[in-house]
């Protein structure tokens, strides 16, 4: 048996186990985001949105926020999936099953990231499906749309993985989403265009990585963006490389996992 086929089997096993977990607890993994996002659509899109008028040209407020909300659902769910699954494995000690196996660190990392990405994208599809009950969307640039959601999901899976590795108790995996992720998401141009902001907020907003994901995705769907789309992709790929490299380094050193 060759090394690469062994790695492929190990990778499939990790991904399969992650997907089974998502399906086993679907009431916690797939339903809550659908409910939250429906509320956003009803309140911001329909009730309030109808009084806001159009933003950025000829789009309704509802159309404007749909890409942002879909992206928001994707990143919070990718992040949440990997933190609870990986920290759960650490807490329940069954991460040791993988740690004592010959599986290389990168296979384990890729498996968890793929699992979390699947959850993020599944939720994204569900939310997008719900959105279509409220408004209509023509996807302008399919490749940019697909590329930005996948990159967004991968980035936040990696970030969640790092969070889970360093977490020592369940509180630690709730802390980052509450104090960092949620504020960044709300300030990342989901609900407004940064062109509506005055200085210095407009420039400061550009330090927020979520802004680039939301805008790249919005460009893919609607064809409009607050920032240069090519630059958005550079930023996103940069984050994947940075976070991926750091995760791998941590995993190889066994930080937080091996005593």
């Amino acid at each position: 048996m060759s090394q690469s086929s062994a790695n492929l089997i190990a990778l499939k096993t990790v991904v399969h186990r992650e997907i089974m977990r998502i399906l086993r607890i679907w009431t916690q993994t797939l339903i809550p985001p659908a409910i939250t996002m429906t509320l956003y659509f009803v309140i911001f899109g329909t009730l309030i949105g109808s009084r806001i008028g159009s933003i950025s040209g000829h789009f309704t407020y509802m159309q404007f926020i749909v890409p942002g909300l879909v992206m928001m659902a994707i990143i919070t769910n990718s992040y949440g999936n990997i933190t609870s699954s990986f920290f759960g494995a650490k807490f329940g000690r069954y991460v040791e099953e993988m740690l004592v196996s010959p599986m290389p660190a990168w296979v384990m990392l890729t498996g968890y990231v793929l699992g979390a990405t699947v959850r993020g994208l599944a939720v994204g599809v569900i939310v997008l499906g719900i959105a279509l009950f409220f408004t209509s969307l023509d996807i302008q640039h399919p490749l940019i749309t697909a590329g930005s959601v996948v990159l967004g999901a991968v980035i936040f899976s990696l970030a969640g993985f790092i969070n889970a590795v360093f977490a020592k108790k369940f509180d630690d995996i709730a802390l980052v989403p509450t104090f960092i992720l949620t504020p960044l998401t709300y300030l990342g141009g989901v609900f407004y265009s940064i062109n509506m902001l005055g200085e210095p907020w407009r420039t400061l907003s550009k330090a927020n990585p979520i802004l680039y994901m939301v805008n790249a995705f919005r460009y893919g769907v609607l064809g409009i963006s607050d920032v240069n789309v090519a630059w958005s992709f550079v930023v996103m790929i940069g984050f994947v490389v940075l976070l991926g490299g750091f995760s791998l380094w941590v995993l190889k050193r066994g930080i937080g996992l091996r005593s």
């Binding site: 499939k12 040791e96 599986m103 091996r258």
Partner: protein, 319 residues
């Protein structure tokens, strides 16, 4: 040329964060096909050592080679050769035994069809077939331990390491576990076992290392260790109470209670002479047994010796 040893442990050290020095330079080897006992009191460093062998614990110094493969330099290749039954439960309680075993095989790169076959086989050997598709948390304590043995067999390891596999397991199941592990060993797998049931080690193992406070205090064959036992203590149940204890040459006689005596005598001493003398004094012995298991007696002596450097004249192991 002799075959490469199944395990060579070379000057392993471990200092945990916080400063506990769990291993202070441990070295020993285990030959291929051996059944090896790793014994020591609580906190001696056994699980730490096993943790290093299975890569769960990072060594602070030294290295170990499994069939010649370095644990520290070629981790992935070394892990392929090991099966581990850890001391603490470490499977997902919400998964099913069958899935736990099949996934374990997957982590080792074993194709799914083979994995399914093996999962059925080893769950059956561990008498868990009827629990294979129930959530693992519904298994009894003993069943959970057996599940960990089945799981460790999924990659059919060349070296099987068991960290107190029989803790909390009833007599009958313990016997069947012994039989299973003995069978695995007879089929060629090298086995390393830690246990606090010394009679288990005495029955199963051929070679032994005793570790205490992070150092090896004894490393020899079970036979030569047992041969070191120069005195033995027996408990005698007697028919009627005796007023005064007779003095018998070479033996130390003590009263334990009304109807029980304890006698300590050198292993070279003829027991017939003891009984003749007891008869002569009108003492009728109804039954007799070893006060402690032989290995237990030695174990206590070795460990105590290592501690205060003062061998005790007579071993009086608390049973």
């Amino acid at each position: 040329m002799s075959p490469v040893p199944a395990l060579v442990v070379d000057n392993l050290r471990k200092t945990y964060e916080g400063g506990v020095e769990a291993l202070k330079g441990v070295s020993f080897r285990v030959e291929q096909g051996d059944f090896f006992a790793l014994l020591g009191p609580n906190g001696a460093g056994k699980s730490t050592l096993i943790g290093i062998l299975s890569s769960l614990v990072n060594a602070s110094g030294g290295d170990a080679h499994i069939f010649g493969v370095s644990v520290r330099k070629q981790r992935n290749a070394a892990m392929r050769l090991i099966g581990l039954v850890p001391q603490e439960l470490n499977f997902n309680q919400f998964e099913k035994p069958f899935d736990i075993c099949v996934n374990e095989a997957g982590f080792y790169g074993i194709p799914r069809a083979v994995a399914i076959e093996r999962a059925e086989k080893y769950l059956a050997t561990m008498s868990l077939s009827d629990k294979a598709h129930e959530q693992a948390r519904r298994l009894s304590g003993g069943m959970k331990r057996r599940l960990m043995i089945a799981r460790a067999m999924m990659n059919e390891p060349k070296l099987l390491i068991l960290d107190e596999p029989t803790a909390g397991v009833d007599i009958e199941i313990r016997r069947s576990m012994w039989q299973f592990i003995d069978g695995i060993n007879a089929a060629g797998t090298t086995v390393i076992l830690t246990t606090h049931y010394l009679e288990e080690a005495e029955q199963l193992c051929r070679n032994i290392a005793i570790i205490d406070h992070g150092t090896i205090v004894e490393n020899t064959s079970m036979r030569s260790l047992l041969a070191k036992l120069d005195i033995e203590t027996f408990v005698l149940d007697i028919a009627a109470p005796v007023a005064t204890l007779p003095a018998i040459d070479g033996c130390t006689l003590r009263r334990r209670d009304e109807r029980r005596l304890e006698v300590t005598l050198p292993r070279t001493q003829n027991i017939n002479a003891l009984f003749a003398a007891l008869s002569a004094h009108g003492i009728t012995v109804i039954s007799m047994r070893n006060k402690t298991n032989r290995l237990e007696e030695l174990f206590v002596r070795v460990v105590e010796h290592g501690r205060d450097d003062a061998p005790r004249a007579t071993a009086e192991a608390g049973a």
